[in-house]
Symmetry: C2
Subunit: 382 residues, 2 copies
């Protein structure tokens, strides 16, 4: 098989097409919602007749603009996201090109840093914040989140002037499930030894999931799956690695690049830019508000407590993908993932799976040190 897979070109070319499409939609009066996080259900936005686009948060360039308002010692993803908005709204040159396209940001009460950053965002962009229960397991938490989703639905109806019918919601649930099934199909292929695609390539594709339209994204994933299913992989073998932890927003590929540079073969990512985004499907029967709430509350983000589902899922994925080691990735100062590391480590130790913990910011100053540690880890698990 030629490498990289030819169908990846689709995703490269899709960027400009999508931006042009969003501009056309806006000119035609369609409302565009900006999002930052998996917990905001696309289904509701799309069922209200709006479009949505993920906002940028992976670049270190926008951090200085954020640090004029935010403390330095918070996670780089939050600073980068906020800085991208500040920069775009102040006609800066580092701008996230999506910011100018959105009518409103729909944010969510996840971690402390994001939750509080969203309070100063309205100075730049109209912002709606969805509350989340923090102990997601109970019927009461489900009822609360369902009520939050309905309130958000009313907000969207006010924005677009279109009533969200149960039929429209069910159609969007089926559409989102179709995307999720396709991503399961892609990730299944990575169970091969060697896998037919690099982890860094998958990460770049996953970054398009909430940027492209669902149809456009599925077209690309379908082509990619078809190509990968039909050819014999030529990638070399190496220690099979799972990355688990914080999201790696578009532009932040430092750690996967280092791992692959040292001969590691990344076969699965337990993260918001990996399995957490598509693993669970929503029930297509029943009250759609409730089944959406159920599905989203299953996302095992470390902002939830207790997060036993994530601990179990990591061990399960490690076995399923026959990994030789796990790289636990956390963004600097991300308390939730940093503290949860202990429980993940204990669980993997019981399973006899080695783990390397990397806490990193967006800059390059720690690149060499991470390289040395990754290299030592590879030697240990090879």
């Amino acid at each position: 098989m030629p490498h990289p897979p030819k169908s990846l070109d689709y995703f490269r070319d899709s960027y400009d097409i999508r931006i042009a499409h969003l501009e056309e939609e806006r000119a035609a009066g369609k409302k565009i919602v900006g999002t930052f996080c998996l917990y905001v259900p696309d289904e509701i936005i799309l069922a209200a007749g709006a479009d949505r686009v993920v906002l940028c948060g992976g670049s270190s360039d926008t951090i200085p603009a954020a640090e004029r308002s935010l403390p330095r010692n918070i996670c780089p993803l939050i600073k980068s996201s906020f800085g991208a908005v500040v920069d775009a709204c102040c006609r800066g040159s580092l701008a996230c090109p999506h910011v100018g396209l959105v009518d409103v940001v729909v944010a969510e009460a996840t971690c402390d840093g994001k939750k509080k950053m969203y309070e100063i965002l309205p100075a730049y962009l109209s912002t709606y914040v969805l509350d989340l229960p923090q102990k997601p397991g109970s019927p009461e938490a489900l009822a609360y989140f369902t009520s939050e989703l309905r309130k958000f639905g009313s907000f969207m109806e006010g924005l677009t002037g279109r009533i969200i019918t149960d039929d429209a919601l069910r159609r969007e649930i089926r559409s989102a499930n179709e995307t999720r099934r396709l991503l399961h199909r892609l990730f299944e292929l990575r169970m091969r030894d060697p896998p037919p695609i690099r982890g860094s390539e998958v990460l770049r594709v996953m970054g398009k999931q909430f940027f492209l339209s669902p149809k456009q994204f599925r077209e690309g994933i379908t082509r990619l799956c078809e190509e990968l299913e039909q050819v014999t992989p030529t990638l070399r073998k190496g220690p099979r690695i799972m990355i688990s932890g914080c999201p790696m927003a578009s532009g932040n590929t430092k750690v996967p690049d280092i791992i692959e540079g040292k001969g590691g073969v990344i076969v699965v990512e337990e993260s918001c830019t990996g399995t957490r985004s598509f693993w669970d499907l929503a029930d297509e029967e029943g009250d759609p508000w409730k089944t959406i709430a159920e599905r989203y509350l299953k996302i095992p983000c470390a902002c939830m407590t207790p997060n036993d589902e994530r601990i179990a899922r990591i061990a399960g994925l490690a076995k399923r993908y026959q990994v030789n080691g796990v790289v636990y990735y956390s963004l600097q100062f991300c308390h939730a993932y940093n503290i949860e590391r202990l429980r993940v480590q204990q669980s993997l130790k019981e399973e006899g799976i080695p783990m390397l913990a990397i806490e990193s910011e967006y800059g390059d100053s720690d690149r060499e040190q991470i390289g040395v540690r990754v290299e030592a880890f590879m030697e240990m698990i090879s």
Copy 2:
């Protein structure tokens, strides 16, 4: 007036009396609940026939024990609290003497650091976690928190074997309100110029609020108010300072000591160890579960979003207490208070009230630097 006020002796002497009392209660089969935070309603614990005692979190000595499990770059209050439990349960010599007395810790989903620390606490102590909505303003959030309180009530009934009647709850609401009114009376006295008591003295008294029994605490506060109301203060005048921000758990008096050492007169603390603990009273009529939920959701902790109530309250207190400046105190790596600082600063700037921001850990390494900054601030506002 002799200084310090003679009635402060009551609080010094009360410590051993209370520990002996808790030991007696335990021997007689009474259940003791350990708490860490204002959001856990004493009313429910006491109405179930249990007693409660706040756990320690103000000492730097227990931090190394915590750092064996927790990341270093989280707030010292969380590390100190966890370390105190680890140390006590491992028969260490730094032990929080309260830990051995409690049957269960009742914790709360407030900030990321505490929420995730509570997940590893059960390895040492039985732990119950109360969920909190993060956007407290809506009827749905109130309904969710009320359901969480009822669930907690059932847990307490299971622990003590005593049914929580509405009458018992109402009695405890009245008792808690009585304490709150007394604290308002104490804080009113601090509006005098000069105030009749030092801020560092009030802080030490406030540290006893959730340690002593309500009756014992009220006895001390009543004596203190009576003494302060009857005598002419002899404290010197100086710049009137409000401290606003993170709690200062018992043992953590570094910043107030520095401020007073530099001639500042602390007249009010907008914090969990200050006004946040008693400012709002619960409604004594109506469904007691709901009025308790309403009262506790009014606590303007920075873990809530948006926290407009706190911003308004700080400006209101600054005027009411005629402060010359505000010292914004945050614990190192406390994202919520650190980020909220910007909004507080903007609001105080509009009111023309100077603010000095201090982010500090528990050690002494920053004592000199803080001293220099506080001194410069005093000169500026004098």
